[in-house]
Symmetry: C2
Subunit: 544 residues, 2 copies
């Protein structure tokens, strides 16, 4: 068995190492265009920023190790330029000698990843307009940020743009971030990201939403950018990070089926339309675990696992990929945003019925020092309660809650299951009722009809409704939703005659909990009442 693997990083190296463990006799050739296989893409921003000091650390599995330990025929600076499926050969160019040769295969794995997308903006070819995908990019950016650079413009507020922004700031560089959309971190729902946006601004990042760069011009030692808004900006350099595109040209050219968005179409064993050819990682199109529709999400975990599955299948094992769930996390200036499953906007776009709740618990028991606020949004099927997605933002304990809910989604669990799950509790780690349980309680109450909800983003449309603020008088005085009437929860039972029977009442408090208790009281007195999910806090999140 001779296996040729194109691309030697997350998906490719994983396929290669697993293949060797499965078969000592196989010939395994890894062809990698770059200087190093198996490097830590995800560490590049932190190397640029100096958090990771040693470049050496980024080389997760050096060539020597892959050769000696796994007996892989790893060839770096070796670019595959063509796949000849008929003859079962690939054309390889040695980028040092510039010579080309042919390499035959029994099974081929395409693990070429995805390239940074560079739109056709005039001037974008300037060497001052950088991107960050591989070590060579990182080296270039490292050189710039450790020299005299003072100002940078980042185009695109996705994961990489955000991470680069933080790392440039930590180098003392002033960063302007230009984002075409009306929010940064578009995989999340907009109202969840406002606090990250505000936090970044507070750290000095100048964020420009709804804008884009229309032209780059090199100046004496710098770069000038013309924005769509008409503004002109000067900086030492720019970073373009507006997404990636599958590097599927080899596949396209050889007639392997690719999706309109560029990904190589694969089945559950990561096989392409040519059964002797597999595609894994960012280059492939897979199924969404939740919606069962095609997706391309560039993530390291899926790439690694897909490589392993492809190797298994090459050796006759029935391993199969379950689909990508979209579990993602990003940290910036000490804050964390994480998500799993489908977002509200994707649910809307896909016309999938859903309901949602917001809660605002602390990461651990409030009576133990250092408790930090979290915002957790849970999306679920309004009838069955099956969990469809979750998003969480905060400074601590964010990854844990999303990992836990990611498990729930993997297991097909419902919000009723979340009520009952038994998680670690001691006061420095969580709550006797963990935020995950709490989200389960709230969502289950909604599905069971115990708690009619109204959402903060729908309040404005609920014109005829009576808006009831059940917080204390001092909380009300410090700020409230326009048009609200204040009756503190504690006196609601005595003062319920002040409320209109027959009219819709929307009740709210700070986070939703007292609003819920008020809702329970009023429902039992036959008022037509709903609770504002997430309360004044979620209402605030929708105001920007």
């Amino acid at each position: 068995m001779k296996i040729v693997i194109i691309g030697g990083v997350a998906g490719g190296a994983s396929a290669a190492a697993r293949a060797r463990r499965l078969d000592e006799t196989a010939e395994i050739v890894v062809l990698e265009r770059g200087e190093h296989p198996s490097f830590a893409n995800c560490g590049l921003p932190y190397y640029v920023g100096g958090k990771i000091e040693s470049r050496q650390k980024l080389l997760v599995a050096p060539v020597k190790m892959l050769r000696e330990r796994h007996r892989l025929d790893v060839r770096t600076r070796s670019e595959v330029t063509q796949i000849d499926r008929e003859k079962h050969i690939v054309h390889v160019r040695n980028l040092d000698s510039n010579e080309s040769y042919l390499e035959s295969y029994d099974k081929l794995v395409i693990a070429t990843g995805a390239a940074s997308f560079r739109p056709a903006i005039p001037g974008i070819e300037s060497s001052r307009v950088m991107e960050l995908r591989d070590l060579a990019d990182a080296d270039r950016m490292h050189a710039v940020v450790t020299s005299t650079a003072k100002r940078a413009v980042i185009v695109g507020g996705g994961f990489i743009g955000i991470e680069v922004a933080e790392n440039l700031v930590s180098r003392g560089i002033h960063v302007t971030l230009v984002e075409l959309g009306d929010q940064i971190l578009t995989p999340w729902d907009r109202e969840m990201i406002g606090s990250i946006d505000a936090h970044m601004r507070a750290q000095g990042v100048d964020i420009r939403l709804n804008d884009s760069v229309e032209r780059f011009e090199e100046t004496q030692g710098g770069l000038r950018m013309l924005l769509k808004s008409g503004e002109t900006m000067e900086a030492d350099f720019a970073v373009v990070s507006i997404g990636v595109r599958p590097e599927s040209k080899l596949a396209v050219d050889s007639g392997i089926e690719c999706a309109p968005r560029g990904g190589v179409v694969t089945n559950e064993h990561m096989q392409t339309s040519d059964p002797d050819i597999y595609a894994v990682g960012d280059v492939s199109q897979v199924q969404c675990f939740v919606s069962k529709t095609p997706i391309q999400i560039p993530l390291a975990g899926p790439a690694n696992r897909q490589g392993r599955i492809a190797a298994d299948h090459i050796f006759g094992r029935e391993s199969s990929y379950r689909g990508t769930q979209g579990t993602a996390i990003v940290g910036v200036f000490g804050m964390t945003a994480a998500m799993t499953g489908l977002s509200e906007k994707v649910l809307q776009r896909s016309s999938i019925a859903y309901e949602k709740v917001y809660i605002h618990p602390s990461d651990h028991a409030g009576y133990y020092p250092g408790a930090q606020p979290l915002t957790l949004k849970l999306l679920f099927d309004p009838k069955s309660g099956v969990v469809l997605g979750a998003q969480c933002v905060g400074t601590s304990g964010v990854d844990k809650r999303i990992d836990v809910i990611a498990m729930a989604i993997q297991a097909g669990m419902t919000v009723f299951d979340l009520e009952e799950v038994e998680l670690c509790y001691a006061p420095q780690y969580g709550h006797a009722k963990d935020p995950v349980n709490m989200a389960g309680f709230v969502a289950s109450g909604v599905v069971r009809g115990d708690q009619p909800l109204v959402h903060a983003n729908a309040l404005a449309g609920d014109n005829g409704a009576f808006l009831l603020d059940v917080r204390s008088e001092s909380e009300f005085a410090a700020g409230h939703i326009p048009g609200a009437t204040n009756i503190p929860l504690e006196s609601l039972r005595e003062r319920k005659s002040e409320l209109p029977q027959g009219q819709k009442i929307n009740a709210y408090c700070k986070v939703g909990q007292r609003g819920y208790v008020a809702t329970r009281i009023l429902m039992q007195h036959r008022f037509d009442v709903a609770n504002v999910s997430g309360g004044y806090t979620s209402w605030g999140h929708h105001q920007h």
Copy 2:
């Protein structure tokens, strides 16, 4: 409907609050012996230690709030002395006036918790021999530790003993911890706890295993203790924390079915043998979620959820408790131990077939600064791969991994599921292959027969075997398992003729990964080989 609840903290207050949300008209009486309902038991050690500065913070839901917000008839300093099931009344003593009265009920909830166990050791009645269960205990201990106390002896190395030890040390008190067993934190398997034990000793805690106090004697301003080992010890005070016993006397006396170990027997709705009487929290005996056998585990999460379920059932809802899974966590001097499901010793005691793997990953990507070691033990069914339990120890990311595996157990997942789960990954939070995936890979390989295992604790019995160390020469020189022969993995293929065909070979490395690769290589060359799970590290953990 008139509901009477005995005990107003975790289980009782939760039942009461939920009952009110379900029914505005119900009469709900909460009878609490202590001065405060709804206090944070779990915070008491940290209040003693000064980490929680304000006593006020421990009062999670003050009486005023329970009365005003939930309209609960909360009566503190009110002890129930008898249940008359026939007449549906309880006898209540007002501890301030010392007067008694009768209170009728339609439904009764027993939420009396569990009392610290005080064995009949001579002198244990001394006021210098303390315990820590409630606020009054905490007040007494707080007074002592903030006065002139310099030395304390803690009897019992369970959760509370460990937490109290840390908190006394942080008050500058010298602590000796006497534990009857051969390990502290007995819910965990012994080899998992060695690092916690060593860490506590390094912080100055004098741990005495396999010993116990046989006599307490008050001295001039202090306490003298005579140990089983013959030693005599002097201290300012002692803390007895050798476990708790359900406070089920009321139930026993009124003829409600109780288990031999004292817990009130309950069904899945938390009903006792008397359908009008429920028992929730530490006083109740429930089912183990994994083994489906009766257990009593005193944990705050289950108590809270059981209270909620009892309230539901009182109002005709079919909510049911799924059993306690044993998810537990303890922090001490910056280290964390957590577990979920069954331990190896419980599996052995219950004669449940199991296999186990150990892995020693870091909490997050090694190339990102601050990565800390974890030890993760996964227990699973050797045939089906169903996850039975997990234990994790480290300084960071411990709670997350156990919570994730707790979800797997709740969902009935297998080790094959753990291979595929998609968790958050960015380098500061985890790994592209999270430790949970990694444990899944290793365990799946074991179930599939790809990786025959030998356990470090069984090595000594494997006398006829050839012990192969595949680490580097320098690692070998720095220490190895006695009797091992060193052939570094990288040269194993060339040097395999040095190995005995026909003889059993046990291969190991530092953590198990290279040992596994060696196992794969040698298996394919028809050697009879097994990998030492967890490698030299796990072997070390078994040596103490």
